[in-house]
Subunit: 337 residues, 2 copies
DNA sequence: AATTGGCACTCAGGGCCCAGGAGTGCCAAG
DNA sequence: CTTGGCACTCCTGGGCCCTGAGTGCCAATT
């Protein structure tokens, strides 16, 4: 139903519109791309494309611009992933080299993605649930309060204070710490819940109330705390793309962790680069933006997601290339540490 | 040189302009405020005020708007700090109640300030250098790599990985950990440098290379790491105030930690609320914004700064009230934990 | 059946003009 | 020092026209 030339026309329209931000007409099209046909022919093709919903004209007698559906077709069938230039690869390497801890890695990744794509970058912290506990530490803050520190094998450190029902002494803490580490070290966080349920049997009755308080905080920390953080960067890039009055809406959405989580969640879980275009995002305020995202994590396992967000009028091939490359590099770095 | 009525006129101009965002003329002024004089008199006063540099007119035959100098006078002599309403106080309390760890406190504070003032909120993490070490933990990651965790009495947790020159065993780690905690617990971070210098003498010669690596990372962490983080929130509020084309500039500045640090640094160190208006900010990109900030910290000591940033056309009394109140509450919470 | 040139039509955007109105500065009188 | 009067400025918004890019349709061509 859409022959090769019509597809070529769509591709040309998308490319031109992305680079010029102006509706593109039949004349300009034959000029810039070397299609060996006349403008009139292109007009016929464009009429078909419009009928099918891939393009629209903002006003009668203006050029055409792609619809979300048009971008979708473009991404799915007409464009590949544009590999990065050597310079860009080098930039990634130098930028991420010597990133010590997880926080640094995430922060630098955000900046890197934003600069590389000139879009808004979103990076989710690697999820806890799929990693394993490396160590648990208890530090007394006062006689009825402890600081609980959980260290995972992805280098993440979670901290919470625990309010105790009764006083606790140094020896009890030592004992509790030993029990915790004996039972939990190396456990996948996903399995922690069942293990913790067994723990009260392993402490003496008199310690049980305090221990129970600690256990419940551990559960909260590793299981119930689904609220993984998403870090945003490069918001300034939004001002270039003209969202007319939607900018406020977009900025607001970007400040809501919950919204960002939903957004990234919608885009699946795989390690391949996925694209959600405009209205495909079922998130208020982001229906006029596109998200290019992928999973990433140490080695091949996908622990979290990262990507870039921009106007639907976005250079998808380049964005996909950058996202894929950055995700791989970050994966390597996480695997090393 | 400026009699009472002229000051009253300036105050009225500031208040009207802040609330309407339109240049204010002599007629409108006598109407809205009950000055018992005629517009002509006001015009004379305004001419004087303009001559002195407190107000300007955007175009001939438009009303007047305050200059940075005008706002300065307003803040210094004409306005107080507007106390919060009971509802707002309650909001602060419920919003910050049950904030467990430092991260949570900071994040909530940012959101709270942004919502309360409808401006951009900036909150600096409490500085390390003035707090004391509560505990140091070493966790083996592999045989040549350690995770160093430093816990301070402000509830802050710093983590770094340490690359070791040679292998290290469990017993050596235990020993090193004991030495560290014996010597450093309770020390002010500012004093750590001198103490660490003495440490190599307290470990056996064979352990010294590995220990040295750990020591140097500790130094980096607590001393050289001046780059305290500043968290920003409520950027969406910037779209309401019309920065015309400066918005991009402002958003960019807000993403630069260095810039934010300088900004907050400029505004002094005291626990009182300070205001920097427009061009008083010597920071590129933020010369058309005002900052209302104050120091905060556990008890009365000022560990870091927080505040709100907005257009110079800002409701200073309200902003100052909110900043002061929030800083106090956060101080209480930090003191408790 | 697809392509092409010709042609009339549409409409957003820019330039221009004009009137209205808010606001000013100045001056002379109270 | 204050005030009313007055002439002047100039921004704002609306209306109007024109231009140019772009379209849809049609008849002719391949």
């Amino acid at each position: 139903m859409l022959d090769d030339r019509k597809l070529a026309v769509l591709r040309a329209i998308v490319e031109d519109f992305v680079s010029t931000n102006e509706p593109v007409g039949s004349k300009a099209l034959v000029d810039r791309h070397n299609l060996d046909v006349s403008p009139a022919t292109i007009r016929n093709d464009m009429a078909i494309l419009e009928e099918q919903g891939y393009i629209v004209q903002p006003h009668t007698s203006a050029g055409r611009i792609p619809t979300d559906l048009g971008y979708r077709l473009f991404v799915d069938r007409l464009s590949g992933v544009k590999p990065l230039s050597a310079a860009e690869r080098r930039a990634i390497e130098t930028f991420l080299a010597g990133a010590y801890d997880l926080d640094t890695v995430v922060m630098r990744t955000v900046r890197l993605l934003a600069q590389l794509t000139r879009q808004v970058a979103v990076v989710q912290y690697p999820s806890l649930t799929r990693s394993a506990i490396r160590h648990i530490e208890l530090v007394p803050l006062s006689d009825r309060r402890l600081l609980l520190v959980v260290i995972t094998d992805t280098g993440r450190v979670e901290q919470r204070t625990v309010e105790l029902p009764g006083e606790i002494g140094e020896e009890s803490i030592t004992q509790l710490r030993a029990v915790l580490n004996a039972c939990l070290d190396g456990r996948k966080l996903a399995d922690v819940a069942s293990v913790v349920a067994e723990l009260p049997n392993r402490v003496s009755a008199v310690e049980r109330p305090n221990a129970a308080a600690v256990f419940s905080v551990i559960l909260e920390t590793v299981v119930e705390r689904h609220e993984e953080r998403v870090v945003v960067g490069g918001a300034a890039n939004l001002t270039q793309a003209d969202f007319s009055r939607g900018l406020h809406e977009v900025l607001e959405a970007l400040e809501e962790q919950v919204v960002l989580m939903r957004l990234l969640g919608e885009s699946g879980d795989q390690a391949i680069v996925t694209v959600r275009i405009g209205s495909e995002n079922e998130v208020d305020g982001l229906r006029s933006t596109s998200l290019v995202a992928t999973g990433y994590g140490a080695g091949n396992q996908s622990l979290a997601r990262l990507g870039v967000l921009g106007p639907t009028r976005m250079d998808y091939p380049t964005a996909m290339g950058a996202v894929r490359a950055v995700a791989r590099y970050v994966g390597q770095i996480l695997a090393e540490s």
